[in-house]
Symmetry: C2
Subunit: 414 residues, 2 copies
Amino acid sequence: MDQVTQAAINSDRQWRWLMELAEFGAIPDNGVNRQALTALDRAARRQLIEWASEIGATVSIDEAANLWLRVEGSDPTAAPVLTGSHMDSQPKGGRFDGAYGVIAGLEAITAMHQAGIVTKRPIEVVAWTNEEGSRFAPGCTGSMSWCGFKPVHEWDDVKDADGIFYGAALATQLGFESDIPRRPLGGPVHAYVEAHIEQGPLLESEGLDIGVVTGIQGSRWFTVTIEGESAHAGTAPLSLRRDAMLDAVRAIQALSDAMADPDDVLRFTVGRIAVSPNSSNSVADRVTFSIDLRHPNADILTARGALIPSVIQSAMTVCDARLVENFTAMPTDFHPLVIAAVEHAAKATGHSIKHMASGAFHDAQFASRVAPAGMIFVPSHKGISHNPAEYTSPAQLAAGTQVLMHTLLRLANS
Amino acid sequence: MDQVTQAAINSDRQWRWLMELAEFGAIPDNGVNRQALTALDRAARRQLIEWASEIGATVSIDEAANLWLRVEGSDPTAAPVLTGSHMDSQPKGGRFDGAYGVIAGLEAITAMHQAGIVTKRPIEVVAWTNEEGSRFAPGCTGSMSWCGFKPVHEWDDVKDADGIFYGAALATQLGFESDIPRRPLGGPVHAYVEAHIEQGPLLESEGLDIGVVTGIQGSRWFTVTIEGESAHAGTAPLSLRRDAMLDAVRAIQALSDAMADPDDVLRFTVGRIAVSPNSSNSVADRVTFSIDLRHPNADILTARGALIPSVIQSAMTVCDARLVENFTAMPTDFHPLVIAAVEHAAKATGHSIKHMASGAFHDAQFASRVAPAGMIFVPSHKGISHNPAEYTSPAQLAAGTQVLMHTLLRLANS
């Protein structure tokens, strides 16, 4: 590993880039609200491109608006090694979820460039479109499109809270970025490795530097629509109402009961609700809510998910219910090649490690359908994420990027 | 009643005015969405002023943005008789709720003007601000301010769904209408009578023309805020969460149980809900919901309302709850003077009547604090209201306006 000793991560530069990126969509208490396919998202991407131009990286986008920065290798026929993450955030998100994986990739290729290192394979840094799914559900639409799991136009009719369609927002983004060369979707790719904050408390509580991620639990997202009938809150007798709010409340309560797990491994969340007409003196004619269900075991995830239709149906007294599954990512095991490369890089750089599964889904879950994939976790203070209080120290982030760079070097020279 | 025989309601003109007014904020299926203190609201008010200018009515506004059209009487010292209603609508409202009472007033004074009738007292037609409360809760802010029940700036800090303050929206409206002469709030007023659709099925099902409204049931509006803590839907174990959605669902379910009424007279509605951050993969840190509670008996309304804090508190497992009462209108009995005038007018014009209480609240509930007040109801097809399908026929509307005109003549000559 001669090349390794030549290159050094610049912790100050990486921190400065992260803090400058966090200004695009800054909200109080160090938070970030940068929704996918917005003007803010585009401005942040232009900033990234400017930083990447300093090392002469080649910029391109694909038709899912994933943004690519490429550094050539010595073998022009070799498949590239990918790294990256996403730049969109939750509505009340923090500075590191997603952004860190992109900036870590940029820092790694910048440090290598400054040390004069050229790998055999090209290295590409990708910023995936709409990983969070908070503006347009589901998340990971960019990586799902890229890997061929779903067509790019699968979600064209998905609306954000303002009634804007995903398809229109994507077309707008591609229009604004028509000066950037277009590349095709998909591989071939030699390997994919994504750096990310843990979003859980384990590394910090055990005093460890690096999570060697072995896989990701499965996630299923559903949308439930309860249809009743609007009426005047003052005049309509309760016996004659078809109140969508009350049946929705019964359904959520029944689901919460049915998803109880004594082992506390199943994750059940109703995080989003929309009511029509949402007026305090009108009986609701429609309530829509989300279900987010996760488990590391595919059989359990399948079995619990299969209960949902009947639980909702049983909760209906006077309304009709519809259920749509919008997103399915079954549990993923990462590839031994990438897991071994991360382990090796952490040991070579003197960092303590923990093998762990990811509770959150990530674009790596879909990249793994095209290429051997893996992830590197850095500690999250108190495990807080999807929150302005999300925090990882500059030194912890630099350690993660050092491990990422060594992993990339190993994979890109193999 | 010599004057009465000279004046005739023009049913076609009234219908045309109503249909033209409904174009301001038209939504599919004959619906209307015209929120208070918006550009649409202002455009509709300008249209009303234009129609009123044809009979030389004097236009003014007060500092709550209530809009006034005045026709002078023969006695310049006499207190006026008021009629009117509101021009704002529910988000999925119809063409008649509120709009009818304003247009009926305009039609009545127009018909009298064309017949050359001058009453002893002035007659004023008022369009009250923000009766529905669907953009800014509570409703009836215009009439509450006018009658002195609450100061104009009581609701300055109330926000709409876009984060705009009531105080700012009111100031904007007054700025746009600074060319209209300003008048003071409050009386003296001789009497107030408001025409309105029934918003219930009784008149239609019994085949009757006119509801002589004897009073209005009491209404109480509450806002409940449940505070928990946001967390990542994939990583946070359920045992460690403070999920505001689940405690809100428990609270609404418990309230629904506690408000059960075997007599089916109590009206309990949760029509509005707002969730933060409202992302499908974030645990909710805050859920806010409305409670609308109504009953014609003041003691029962007080007793049931008094249960609410403890019911909510008992439903909390891990979150904190706050309860605010935003609106209180105790049951109102209308004044015998106005009830008698409506009865007399209906009989004199050959219309069948029913004495009835109102399930919905109305600006008349607050006008009654300053002046003897009453209301005239016309049938609502199937009792549908707060809905695009709201319907009353041109002939039924004309009958109501005929009774209104006769009532105004009687009151304005006494």
